[in-house]
Symmetry: C2
Subunit: 133 residues, 2 copies
């Protein structure tokens, strides 16, 4: 196999989405025990990280992250059992999806242009047309 990587996103309707960004954030919170540190490790503002966690906590019947009060940095944060389960379920969907589509992913890979040849004479549409509008 080459390096084609499948990423999945789950849309639940009413704008609720679970994708790689939120899962990476949960994994970082599990690792660092802090929303702000987790956000920082992903080049994400604290506000954005907090909004994503809040969105997750509102999406499901059970909270995903709990916050411990206190401290100058607003205290620590921990995943709930449900939050850990959510990561595992998402990663399992991803693994199963990649396994089920292995042949198709491989076929896509072999139809890719070689990187080394990209700079030479890429097949392209006339650039004049791009200015037309």
């Amino acid at each position: 196999m080459g390096d084609a990587r499948l990423t999945v996103r789950v849309d639940f309707g009413s704008k609720r989405v679970l994708g790689p960004g939120k899962i990476r954030l949960l994994e970082a919170i599990r690792k660092t025990g802090s929303i702000s540190q987790a956000g920082r490790s992903l080049d994400m503002s604290y506000r954005r990280a907090w909004l994503l966690v809040d969105d997750l906590n509102r999406s499901f019947r059970e909270p995903v992250v709990t916050k411990q009060p206190g401290g100058a940095n607003g205290g620590g944060a921990a995943l709930t059992d449900f939050g850990i389960e959510l990561i595992e379920k998402y990663r399992s969907i991803e693994t199963r999806a990649a396994a089920a589509a292995k042949r198709q992913l491989h076929e896509l890979e072999i139809s890719l242009r070689d990187r080394s040849r990209r700079a030479q004479k890429p097949q392209r549409i006339s650039s004049r047309t791009a200015k037309t509008g």
Copy 2:
């Protein structure tokens, strides 16, 4: 089954990505026979649509879209056989992925908060903390 919907994205490395946006654009070009009309039908500028098509044409060994010259609107556009195959392959990956993860998707669905209950008392982190960061 409820309405959880799986979307897939394929990363090939070196910034080459195939996801739902490009596939929807190809499907719209197949339908309309025009990059500009296809872009418009997806609320996308002609420039953005053109860049996505150009990116696809450069990513693979074979072109995905060919352009017919002439006309005030810059002529028509058509998918190549390879372009049609690309749509089919992507949609097949999506279908196989959803089938393989059916149980996990269902489990996520039943752990969702009811929409009707969302407005009442969503479990949330203290909003005071949000201003801290």
